[in-house]
Structure formats: C-alpha cells, structure tokens
C-alpha cells in the first residue's frame, strides 16, 4: 500500500527514543537510579563531577545494549567508543555528556509491527549508550531554577530510526512496538510519565518523489496519545507553511500538551557546536563474542515470534496472538492456562475478555491478576465438560476474583451451579413445559421460531438455569416432532 497523502503531501517521520535502562546503579557511578528520591540525594561525587572523579562503565548497562541489539537483529559492535558531547548547562555537571558518536554499540536492525492488517518494518540506524543529564526545576523557585542531579548519570540507550514512517499512526504503532520490546526484554520499565521512555519525532513533508523536506524535531512526547496529536499538528502546520509560500526552517520544537500545539525552542542557527571527541577517560568498550552468546542464550522469546507460535501451535487468530503478546506476563498467563485446560481459544477469550475487563476496571496490571491461570484452567475445564454453563462460569469467576472462593468445584457446589445433565429429569421438565404452554406449541408448529425460544426459556427457568441449553434444544425438538 502506498503511503497516505495529506493534501498531496507525503509525510516522513523518523524517531529518536531515549530509553532509560533498568539498572540499579548509574552508568558511570555507583549511585542508585531509583526514581522519586529527594532532590540531590542520589548523586555521588562522580555524578556531581567533583574534581578528580572519573567514569567507570556499568556492566549491566552494556548487557542491556546487547539485549536490545539481539532483540532488534542489530549488529552488536564488539568495540565501540565513548565520546564527549560538550555544552554548558547547569544540570550537566561535567559540562559534557558522555555518549557514543562515531562508533555506537548497536548498529542497524529493525522493528516490525502490524499497522491494521499491514505488516510494517522500520529500519534502525543505531542505538548508543549515554548518560542522562540532571533535571532543571524552573517552576519550584521564584526567580531561580533548582537543579536535581538524581537523574544525572542514569543510563540511556538512544534508539535512532531511519526516516521510514509515513503517518502519525505508523509512528505511534512503531513507538508502541518498541515500547513493548524494551519492556519485554526487561531493559526498561517503560514508564513514560516518569520519563523512562522518551520519544522525539523528526517530522518533514514533501511532494511524492521529491527529495526529503526540511525536518523539525518534536521533543517531549511523553504519551502515545500526545505523540499522535503532536505529529498531526506538526504535519498540518508544515503543510500550511509551505502552501502559504514559506519554507520550513530546521528547528527543535516542543509539544505543549495543554494546547496540543508545537512551538519552536531553537533553530539551526543557534545549534551548538558540541565538539565531540573520544572520551580519554574511557577506553574503547570491548564486548566479547562470548558474552553476546551468553546473553543470546538467556534471551526470552520475543513478542513477534511468540505471536507467530501462538497462531501455529494453538490455532489462534492473528488478532488474538498479537493481543496476548502485549506483555510477557499476559502471554505467560495465557499459555499456562491454555496448556492446563487444553482449550487455547477459550483461554484466549477469557484472557482477552473477562480478565482484561477486570484489570482495566480496577486499573491494575497483569502482575496483580486475582485469578490464577490454574484456577482459570479449572474453570474452563468445567465449561467444556458441561458441568456448568457459560453464564454460571462468569459467576464462578466473580467469586474467584473477589476472593469469595478459591476452588472452582467448591464454588460450583456452594452456589449450586452444576448443570442438569440427567436427561430423565430434564425430559420430565420439558414434558411439563409442553403441557403448560399449549399456545406456544401451537405457534411453533405453525412455523414461528420465536415460540420455540420461549419454550426453551421456560425449560431453563424451570431447571433454575442448571439445564444445558443445547440439550434442552435437542429434547424439545425431538418431542415436538
């Protein structure tokens, strides 16, 4: 499918994503990376750039880079170089940021995802390790800015794509997929509000076939919703500018979630000369092929591969497989349930239906699910062996979720939900229903289906809901000839 045009323009989007790595300590020091501590309580001498301090690489952060490279099919550079990006700002204690410039640790790779029914692939340029800066607090003090260096030195992987995306929807789908991958492989907690996963979008427009237009970089996209709004606004703005005969100036723009607009922070003219050069305090980062192999052996099955396996092994529809592989906990829950009850599609329906609904209502994650996979499997087993009806199963589920009961069979007994599978007793009920409702019988015989449904309803009611509806249907039809 060709890219959708907007007023005759093609949209070109590339992403830079700052992924905070879920390491315990900082990238070049031993200070903690935990979020939310009192300002400046998690900054040690190295983070404060006290005279004489030097950086020492955090092994765990490198391992995160290796995992990402393996997950995205990238080349993992066995030797990469740290460089200094020099600029002055109060929340940058050394006056330079240690990053990777010419030789990053992760090179190339791609992210594939579904956009609607369509398979999309976004190519990656690179992912490099770097340290985060501190935070400037401009609102907390009148006439002054506060500096919190707790975040200074937090490890980041900056993941950079080729300008491969052609719509805001595709961009958001890419970001969601990347978010899923980094949380799936456990290198990032994915918390966008706390800044653990920060996306910058480079957006430009052009007439089809024309060279790339001038791009503007949108910063501060801290939710998927804002991402779409900001990119759509930016696209409209750029097209209007061009249509009005103005040219786009390369710039960095900030998205304001309150107005839904983007506004320029700085243009290319005041872009700093960062004077990158290899950091002489850090020797080249050398990764042994052995280490990569060890990490590879411990890598979890990735979501796309797992979804494909769910389709192949369990016969699930593509939609179910994709939905169930949103997170590792959900996928594992589904698979445990499916294996235990042998009914994959039913397990999928329950996880995507009742379980998801309850999690959403209570605003909790899959980790906090209140019905275990073993309980759900037992419940599904009682549906398939006709012990209970679907409706009764929902009541059992409710009891399990609320903690009213924990054993499926005990709940079924306690609530008297067992289906009436004794055909003698059922026949008796049906005979009584036929005898008591001659009008409906007449109408049915005259060809009115509605009348039959009324008879089924009467029979179910008479059985207090314990009759198996399929069995009621069969018996009624047989008796009414």
């Amino acid at each position: 499918m060709s890219a959708p045009l907007i007023h005759g323009y093609e949209v070109v989007i590339g992403f830079e994503t700052h992924t905070q790595l879920a390491t315990r300590s900082k990238i070049f020091s031993r200070a903690s990376t935990a979020f939310g501590a009192e300002p400046n309580t998690q900054a040690c001498a190295v983070d404060l750039a006290l005279p004489g301090t030097l950086p020492v690489m955090n092994r765990e952060a490198v391992q995160c880079a290796i995992k990402l490279g393996l997950a995205l099919g990238s080349h993992i550079a066995l030797e990469s170089i740290f460089a200094r990006k020099n600029y002055f700002y109060p929340d940058l204690p050394k006056g330079y940021q240690i990053s990777q410039f010419e030789t990053p640790v992760v090179q190339g790779g791609e992210v594939s995802f579904l956009l609607g029914e369509e398979q999309k692939t976004v190519r990656l340029v690179r992912a490099h390790l770097e340290e985060d800066a501190g935070k400037s607090l401009h609102e907390d003090f009148i006439g002054q800015s506060g500096i919190d260096l707790n975040r200074a030195g937090t490890p980041l992987l900056e993941i950079v794509t080729e300008p491969d995306m052609r719509s805001s929807a595709e961009a958001v789908a890419y970001a969601r997929e990347l978010h899923k991958i980094v949380t799936w492989i456990g290198i990032c907690d994915g918390n966008m509000q706390e800044g653990s996963f920060r996306c910058d979008a480079n957006v430009s427009v052009r007439k089809p076939g024309a060279p790339l237009g001038t791009r503007r970089e949108i910063k501060n996209l801290n939710s998927f919703r804002n991402m779409q709004i900001a990119i759509d606004y930016e696209i409209r703005w750029q097209i209007e500018e061009i249509e009005d005969g103005r040219s786009i100036q390369q710039a960095t723009v900030l998205f304001d979630p309150d107005t839904g607009e983007t506004r320029a922070m700085r243009t290319k003219e005041d872009a700093a000369d960062y004077r990158y050069f290899p950091d002489p305090d850090l020797p080249p980062l050398v990764i042994s092929a052995d280490w990569v192999e060890r990490v590879k052996a411990e890598m979890p099955e990735l979501p796309r591969a797992m979804a494909a396996r769910f389709v192949a092994d369990y016969g699930l529809p593509e939609y179910d497989a994709t939905t169930l592989t949103q997170s590792q906990t959900m996928a594992a829950y589904f698979e445990d349930t499916a294996r235990a009850c042998g009914q994959a599609k039913l397990a999928s329906n329950w996880v995507m239906g009742e379980i998801s609904r309850r999690l959403n209502t209570e605003e909790i994650g899959m980790e906090a699910v209140k019905v275990s996979s073993a309980q759900l499997a037992a419940l599904i087993g009682r549906i398939t062996d006709n012990t209970i009806s679907n409706n009764a199963a929902k009541q059992v589920f409710e009891a399990l979720w609320s903690g009213e009961g924990s054993d499926v069979d005990a709940v079924i007994d306690a609530k008297g939900l067992k289906q009436m599978n004794d055909s003698g007793a059922l026949e008796k009920i049906i005979d009584e229903v036929i005898a008591a409702n001659p009008a409906n019988v007449e109408q049915y015989k005259a060809g009115k289906d509605k009348a039959f449904n009324a008879l089924v309803g009467q029979a179910m009611k008479a059985s207090k809901g314990k009759a198996n509806p399929g069995q009621v249907n069969e018996l009624l039809k047989a008796k009414l000839g």
């Binding site: 404060l48 005279p51 004489g52 030097l54 020492v56 200094r84």
Partner: protein, 501 residues
C-alpha cells in the same frame, strides 16, 4: 649512612633511611614531622607550599607512631611527605593552583594519596604548582603560598632568582631544599621530569596507567600520570611502588597490572645495557653546559659497562604541536565542570546564567589556562577537528611507533631533560611559546605513554643543575630506576645541597 637522630640532620636522610630509623624506633613519626614542619616554616619564602595544617599532620604522625608501636611494617610508616596540590585530599584544601578552587575541600582522598597513607606516609601539606598543572616554570600559580597574601612564583633553591620548572615546581623545590624527603608530582608533558632536572633531584613518571588518576584534578586525561620526586632513585622506587596499582572501581584507564616492587632490580649490573641516544636530542639549540653535563654522565654509563647506541626519533619536533593540540583539547573539556554551579568560585554579580558562566570563568581562570581552553576549543570545533585533533592523534601514534622502532636497537633511551638549565623568573615574560619549546625532550615520551625519569647529571650554565632523562619501554620502570641507581652509586650529584639548605 650512619643514622644520627640529631634534629638538624634529619632532613638529610633519604626516604628509605627515614623509614628504617622509624621502624627501628630511633625516631618517632612526630619528631620527624615536627622537624620538617619547622623546615617548611623556616623556608616558606621559597613559596613551595600552598597549604599546611600542622595539627592535621601531627595527628597523622601520632597515628603512625601508634602503628609503629604496634609493630607496623608498612614501608613508609611515619615518613613525612607532601603532595602536589593537584591531588585532592580530605585533610587539606585542594586548589590545583587556581583561584577557581580557592578553599575547595574534597570529600575524598586521591587514590595515590590514599595508597601512600596506607603505606604509612604522613602528609606535611600541599605543594605549589602551575594552575591546573599548565606550565613549565611554576610561574602560573594563582594561589598565595603559605605565608603570603598574594600568588608568587616558586623559587629554585639553587638560585632563587630562577624558576624551579613546572608544573610540579613546588614538589621539586621542596625536595631540593630538604623541606620534604619526597613528594608526589604529576607529569602530563614533562611536569615531573623537567622540575626534577631543574632542581637537581630525581623524579620518575611511570608508564601511563600505572598509577590511578582518581583524585588528580584532570588536565589532559590521556597524558596525566602521577609519580614521585625524591633525591635518589632508590627513594623513587620505594615511593613509586606504594603509589601504583590497579583501581578498577575508580579509574578505567588505570592498568590492570598488580603493584610491583620497582626496587627489585636495584644494584643489577649494567653490563651490555644498550643506551640509545636520539640524534634529535643532541642537536643545535642544546645549551653547551647541558650538553657537557650529559656527555659526562654518559661516559659514566660506559664505565659501568653500558654501550651507547645512536638512534633516531625523527618526529621529536612534531611532538610540540601534537602535544599542544591534544593536551589543550582534553583540558578544554575537562575544565568545563568549573562553571560556578556546583563548587569552586562563582562570580558575585551577574545578570543571568550566561553572564554567570562568563564572569565566573573569566575571574577564576588565569591567562595560561584560558589560552589552552581557547586553543582546545578551537581544535575540536566543527570544521577544524579533522585538520587538528585527528591529525595530531595520527602523528601521536607515529611518535609511539618511532619509540618501538628505537627500542629494537636499545634498552633505554637517554638524553637531556630540557635544552637549557632553569631560566630566570620572568625571563620568558609574555612568550608562552618559549615555555612550550622548552618541553621538546619530555613531550615525545609523554605522548607515547612511556615511563621516563630525570636523574641529576651535574651542573651546567650558571652552576644550575642538569637532568639526564632516561626513557624506558612500557613497564620498564624497574630497569630505569636501576640505571639511575647505578649512576647515583658512581656519582654524587644527587647528594649535593643547594647553598643555604
């Protein structure tokens, strides 16, 4: 040497003799410390010290005495030393010779300071140096020395009108004047070897990475290296052994090689040792008096069984522009942290952030530091990086290769430390290039990361000391120190005292 503990002669004792006297309990650490503190007070007009804290030193000495009483065998137990003010210390302020850090107190000790303390050393104070170790004469110190209200150049004990060399000028002057038996220094482009040469003492810069740089206020990260200054090679070996070793949790550039006893080869024969003499180190421009002194010591080496071999280090002259690109480039970045935000000097009045940065740095840094920050910023700038920084790195590699070529033909390289003896204070005036050119013989070894030392080689023009430079291949410190030791067994230049000290 027979040991008399008469206080007036204590300062003539070498580090090893002092250590022995302390271990034999012929002398207490406190007595030694009091003696040297008195020497320091007596000669504070040399401007060698930037900070003392007599009570802190006495407290350290008392602790050493307690350990000695407990039978400590730490090699330097109770020996008083002093540190170049580039090393951060908890017990003393650290300024790096700069207004930028006036009054700064580090919450931790540099690894080298810590290691020497673990070996038992007592710190007498902090020694003067060029601001951020940038200088060859110690004329760039911006901090008032102990006993003075204004900054002033360190004096050379051999002629107080002359410079002691730099940047470890305070260290060299203090050792030469017997104010301390030994001192730490740092060498980026010759800052241990050249002042040791100018002051007639012994100093060694080990292989880059031997000593941890943690706690050294950084000048040029890829070149900075700590080392000791003392009167004898034997003392340097003792001190260096205590200073070196891996520091994997603090300095990624510290080598993963265990500490070693650099004195283990002392006394070994020099028979058959091939000493390479680089043609370029003996060319025009070398002062005749320096040349004569060097030639004299080389004859001594021949007598000791060494063979002199002519070699070439063809890119010697290129070392000057290469060094003065790479070192300022790294410095321009290393000194960015001095911005008035977190520690150190901050301008009093400013209108906004940019104004604060500009005023703070304009006030806090001296001219030479500003000059190097500007050069360094320029050579790293977009459009100039390839032509300057990258090109300099390539030539740096070739200079290192030239040494490896030379070491095919010789075991050690020898030559003068500097083209002349110490010049007069103020003589180079406003001509920084004159200072830069005087570094020509020490820069190549620094760029290659090789160990090098300065050994007293007699006297040249104006009766001033001349230093013989010995350069070894990587990790050849023990061999270097033995070569220096054997020369010191055959000569007495290292035992001469400047008049009045």
């Amino acid at each position: 040497m027979s040991i008399s503990t008469a206080p007036s002669e204590l300062h003539e004792l070498s580090v090893s003799a002092l250590a022995q006297a302390l271990h034999e309990r012929k002398l207490s650490a406190l007595e030694a410390t009091e003696h040297f503190l008195a020497r320091m007070r007596q000669h504070q007009d040399l401007a060698a010290f930037l900070a003392v804290d007599e009570d802190a030193s006495r407290a350290q000495a008392r602790r050493a005495d307690a350990r000695l009483a407990g039978g400590s065998t730490a090699p330097l137990e109770g020996v008083p030393l002093a540190h170049k003010d580039i090393f951060v210390t908890r017990d003393f302020p650290t300024t790096a010779g700069s207004r930028m850090l006036a009054g700064y107190r580090s919450p931790f000790d540099a690894t080298v300071v810590h290691k020497l303390a673990e070996a038992g050393a007592v710190t007498l104070g902090k020694l003067n140096c060029d601001e951020f170790a940038m200088g060859s004469a110690n004329e760039n110190s911006a901090v008032p020395p102990v006993g003075f209200d204004a900054p002033r150049p360190v004096q050379n004990p051999w002629d107080r009108a002359r410079v002691p060399g730099g940047s470890s000028g305070g260290s060299a002057a203090a050792v030469a004047a017997r104010l301390v038996p030994g001192a730490t220094g740092t060498d980026t482009g010759g800052s241990i070897r050249q002042p040791a040469g100018f002051c007639g003492i012994t100093g060694i810069k080990p292989t880059y990475g031997r000593a941890s740089r943690y706690g050294m206020v950084a000048f040029a990260s890829s070149l900075d290296q700590a080392g000791p200054l003392a009167r004898t090679a034997e003392d340097c070996a003792l001190l260096l052994s205590a200073m070196c070793g891996p520091d994997p949790d603090r300095d990624s550039t510290a080598l993963d090689r265990p500490a070693e006893d650099f004195g283990r080869q002392l006394g070994a024969s020099l028979d058959g040792l091939r000493i390479g003499l680089p043609r370029e180190f003996f060319a025009d421009g070398l002062a005749p008096g320096v040349r004569a002194a060097i030639d004299g010591t080389l004859k001594e080496y021949e007598k000791l069984g060494a063979r002199l071999v002519p070699i070439s280090l063809p890119r010697t002259e290129l070392a000057i522009p290469v060094y003065y690109i790479i070192a300022p480039a790294e410095a321009s970045s290393n000194l960015s942290r001095f911005d008035g935000v977190k520690f150190g000097h901050r301008a009093k009045d400013y209108t906004d952030l940019m104004d604060m940065y500009k005023k703070t740095r304009a006030e806090g840094f001296g001219d030479e530091v500003k000059r190097r920050i500007m050069i360094g910023t320029y050579v790293l700038s977009h459009g100039y990086y390839d032509a300057y920084y990258l090109q300099a790195q390539k030539i740096r590699r070739m200079i290192a290769d030239d040494f490896q070529q030379a070491f095919q033909e010789c075991d050690l390289i020898a030559g003068p430390v500097a083209p002349s003896v110490a010049w007069k204070i103020g003589e180079h005036g406003n001509d920084p290039l004159a200072d830069y050119l005087a570094d020509i013989f020490t820069l190549p070894g620094s760029l290659a990361g090789l160990p090098g030392m300065s050994v007293p080689a007699g006297f040249g023009e104006h009766g001033m000391p001349v230093g013989l430079q010995l350069i070894g291949n990587y990790f050849q410190e023990a061999r270097l120190l033995n070569a220096a030791h054997r020369l010191q067994q055959a000569t007495d230049f290292h035992l001469r005292s400047p008049a009045g000290f």
